[in-house]
Amino acid sequence: MSTHQPPMPQAPAATDWQAAPGGPYPGYTSPIPVVRTHLGHALASEWTKIKSVRSTMWTLGVFLLLVVGIGLLTGAVVEANSDSESLSGENMLSFGFFGLLLGSMCIMTLGVLTTASEYSTGMIRTTATACPSRGRVLAAKSIVFFTVAFVTTLASSGFVAMLHSSMLGNAGADSPTGGQWLKATVGVSLYIALLGLLSLLIGSIIRHSAGAITIMIGAVLAPLVIALFMAASSMQKLQEWLFEYSIPSQLGAFYDNGLTGSGPSGWDPLWIMLGLTAVVYAGAYALLEKRDV
């Protein structure tokens, strides 16, 4: 028990509570060893949580299916339609883009569910009772989810990248540089995992699965779709900005094939997403502390 409580014999007579002896806060003393909890406990708890629901297996399963399946298909189509010169000067790893773009929807869904499903099921009240430090719960959820999302994306994007490099090696493309490899695997994986973390935070803010998923899918797709219909020349600047900074375009930058020649390039998208996630994290944390569960 806590430091200021002397060990107590079990209270003998139930009725004489007013005369209960032994210090200011007498009562039962449990034989279970008392542990001062820390983030490690919350991490273990969140790891059990994320692996013990079927939605995790479903979303990650579909994610792998999309990334690897579409990767294989794209590779096969490109290989069948190219001769020894057609890919010269291209980054052959860039064909992993399509699978990841679709697959990111699964990661976003899982991210939202990690937080929002606690609210829809009422589990959050149990969670908050077990761990009154709300900041710790949010941190543990974020770390566990980010790790799961990063490892899964890295494994699948790495697999697809190797697949493409072996399939398309005869189509005239240069062998990818180390930097290109790094961006096409670690870079995109960090980006997708951050996108998922952003969804997790939106889920914590909105507290509603369907609403948060809609917001995230809208945030990914709407800027591009809206920009497509900006025909007026006076809106050209806005249109360009939307094209350059839309999430699919930023994802493309990891393969050096954004929608436009300008806009974020290299590792820029990662820093943009990192900054955005940090701001939203601060907001989600502040709301979590302020609101009633």
């Binding site: 009562g27 449990s30 149990t126 908050a128 009154p132």
Partner: protein
């Protein structure tokens, strides 16, 4: 021990909990009673730090809930049976709770056994009946073998066997020296388990007494009389200054604890009595009268509206 001091919760203009001050002590079952919407659950949520109080303070053994380093070994709570992710098995639900407080994993199997859910431990919680969900919630509360236990309407959805089980459980937990705080809107249920009572109505404290005192103060006692010479008995009682009223089944009822006096009167006059029984109105009735008074008090405590010309006429009538 749970100490509340002027605890208040407002939602906009509505006052859900109004300056509650009381202490829940170890070693007894303390019943927390009030009609639906009285603020019982809100109070319990504030004790657990789920809701922030608008004003006032609540401490667990002298500390705020969010300062507890090992909350589940300190206080176990069943708030509502649905605070569970339905897709998770009972075992994994309890396991993630245990891990978050560094409780050894063997406790999960132990509490599942205590509440009788061992056979469905690996089944998903969404397939559970209300009673099974309630048992799972109780298992979660017992997980850390805590000093303080809090149950919000624990008998809801339980079958008679389950209700009997939870009564016995609560009493044995209190007998071990733990603080047991249990809410209910059923006075009859509390009468069987609680030794101490805290009654609230519309967020206000109405009573904070021992169960025995509460019964003494709030229950109406009366004497029930049946006699073949009813009319003449009525006359004699009237002459003695005792008011009897006709009750159903040809019986008479006299307010107060006057059985001895009535018996002596009847004997002196040579009446035959078929029944002379001192009785007490049910606790449920006492509880309803208490909370009804609170409603009345609330209505009267409002300032009278300023007299208006058009309403003045009929108001006096």
């Amino acid at each position: 021990m749970i100490e509340l001091e002027g605890l208040t919760k407002r939602y906009g203009d509505t006052v859900a909990v109004d300056r509650l001050t009381f202490t829940v002590r170890p070693g007894v079952v303390t019943g927390f009673l009030g009609p639906n919407g009285a603020g019982k659950s809100t109070t319990m949520r504030m004790i657990l730090g789920l809701d922030h109080p608008t004003a006032g303070d609540v401490r667990i053994d002298g500390r705020h809930y969010d300062r507890l380093k090992d909350p589940l070994t300190y206080i176990g709570a069943l708030l509502d049976a649905k605070a569970v992710h339905g897709g998770r098995s009972a075992y994994n639900h309890l396991l993630c709770l245990a891990q978050s407080n560094g409780i050894p994993e063997r406790r999960v199997a132990e509490v599942l056994d205590t509440v009788g859910l061992t056979s469905v431990a690996r089944k998903k919680a969404k397939g559970f009946s209300l009673g099974m969900g309630q048992r799972l919630g109780i298992a979660g509360a017992l997980l850390g073998d805590p000093r303080i236990l809090m149950f919000d309407e624990p008998v809801n959805g339980l079958d008679p066997e389950g209700i009997h089980w939870i009564r016995t459980l609560m009493k044995s937990l209190a007998a071990q020296g733990r603080t047991v705080f249990v809410s209910s809107h059923l006075m009859s249920e509390m009468a069987l388990t609680a030794e101490h009572l805290v009654v609230i109505g519309q967020g206000r404290l109405l009573a904070d007494t021992s169960m025995a005192d509460f019964i003494r103060q709030n229950s109406r006692s009366y004497v029930r009389i049946r006699s073949p010479q009813r009319e003449r008995l009525l006359d004699v009682l009237h002459e003695a200054g005792i008011t009897a009223v006709q009750a159903g089944g040809g019986a008479l009822e006299v307010e107060g604890d006057k059985a001895e006096r009535i018996g002596e009167l009847a004997a002196r006059s040579g009446f035959v009595l078929h029944e002379l029984s001192p009785r007490q109105a049910s606790l449920e009735e006492a509880f309803m009268r208490l909370t009804a008074d609170a409603v009345e008090y609330h209505a009267h405590s409002r300032p009278d509206p300023a007299p208006q010309d058009w309403g003045a006429g009929w108001k006096g009538a």
